[in-house]
Subunit: 204 residues, 3 copies
């Protein structure tokens, strides 16, 4: 579990960093950027814990998550003033973070013996809701509702993890396969602009 824990902290940091870069487009002060970054990092898991009734939420008894989020946001805030970090620098870490959060959320829900469908949903919630709350705080329609396959990749990975697990595959191997699927799905969607059907303005 300790590797998963380390990777989980890395995912929080990546979320906080990308949220800081996002938030810079608005005229926010250091505090605002930090709060939004931390919420982006821990928001998905927090909502999952509330819905499942796992209270107090996970970071209350393990504040290292919040500390990692704050540190990552502040470093990014000040480094960003000196160096121009290209956005697509974080596309791969972001995909890894999505994959990690999704398999962790799905695994936690599976351990609580909930229905497989709800377990997959909890994985998606863990993976994407930090970003949703970030966008709401920044007063934008959440990116994942408008963008290339993102939550869909998380959902596919979560369902794959559950299927492999129910077929008796070793859990660690199933986790790796599911994460690989999410990362590749996400990167392929970015590379070839794959997206789901949309309402277009001229159709209205």
């Amino acid at each position: 579990m300790s590797l998963i824990y380390l990777l989980d902290l890395c995912a929080v940091a990546v979320c906080a960093i990308t949220a800081t870069l996002e938030a810079q487009r608005r005229e926010l002060d250091l505090f605002g950027v930090t709060v939004i970054a931390v919420i982006a990092g821990i928001g998905g898991g927090t909502l999952r814990d509330i819905l499942l009734g796992r209270l107090p939420v996970y970071w209350i008894n393990d504040p290292i998550y919040v500390v990692v989020g704050i540190t990552a946001a502040m470093l990014t805030f000040f480094i960003r003033r000196k160096i121009n970090i290209p956005r697509n620098f974080f596309l791969l870490p972001d995909a890894v973070g999505l994959a990690l959060f999704t398999v962790i959320g799905t695994s936690i829900a599976m351990n609580m013996q909930v229905n497989w469908f709800i377990a997959a949903l909890m994985g998606v919630v863990t993976g994407v809701f930090g970003g949703v709350i970030r966008d709401i705080l920044c007063n934008e329609v959440p990116l994942i509702f408008r963008t290339d396959i993102y939550a869909t990749a998380a959902l596919a990975g979560a369902l794959l993890l559950i299927t492999l697990d129910s077929l008796g595959m070793d859990h660690h191997l199933a986790v790796i396969v599911a994460m690989g699927t999410i990362i590749l799905g996400r990167l392929a969607a970015i590379r070839w602009h794959i997206h789901l059907p949309r309402f277009h303005r001229h159709e209205q």
Copy 2:
């Protein structure tokens, strides 16, 4: 209880359908529309359960609610591309949904022996907060804060249900009277543009 259960599922579907029609005004993809529609359908009851401490929230152990929401949203998404559904087609189902959610939320809170005033509030939360979250996700000031009597009708119905119940009326009959009041109040408000006092721009 099985009729209530069926009606509850219908209310989730109606909420999801109207949310899909709402969301079409933004350029959202199928995933975004579906998520917003499901949240609109189950969001009010979810917030009620969290506030009351009824965790895990109701749809964790009964995923049919989520399935109904997803199905209704997807069907509407694709049908909408072929056929133009007039908005006011859903005014009556929407009023029925509001009434149902309100009496269900009020009844649940009454069973938990909370104060009558809090029970009425929980009814209103169940009835209207799905729509509030929907509007926040669509980046709009929630409609119920700007519109004709909506939550007020829900509040009146919830208070009526509690009053009739405390007077010893049969619970099923009280539910029907309260629902009728909400539906008629809502339709009357739409028909004659009844609304509460407002701040007007020229008064500022």
Copy 3:
């Protein structure tokens, strides 16, 4: 505890009043203004209780908080139509409310034996999140992310309270010192426009 309780109710009222004045800039009806005002008053403590797992949330079993919020909002709504209340009339009450909510939230978390850092965070959440939710409902980037030192004053006061408490100072005295720090910090920030580093548009 009864003085704290009374002050807590006053803080809810102040939050509701300032939220009503805020909300007047949008064309909201009486219901919308009231709901936003009540949520501004009780939202911070509600989120704190959910995160800590203190369910049902505090006002479910003590509806006086909601009643105070509704009354304050309605009175303000109607008085505001007759009399022009200057905004800075509420700067001091607002600072007192922030200080009160923060020390109450911090004290509650400390009593639950959580980590000192999380206790301070819970104080800040209690102090500022009502305003955050208010701004989200009004479709604005939350003021505290853009403004002069506000949450930072709350954080400083919460940390001071915890430090003094761990040094063995009488809890009531520590509360007064912490509150004084928050109020003075907040007023000083307003007076001299002290603020944290910001991203500026021309830096982008």
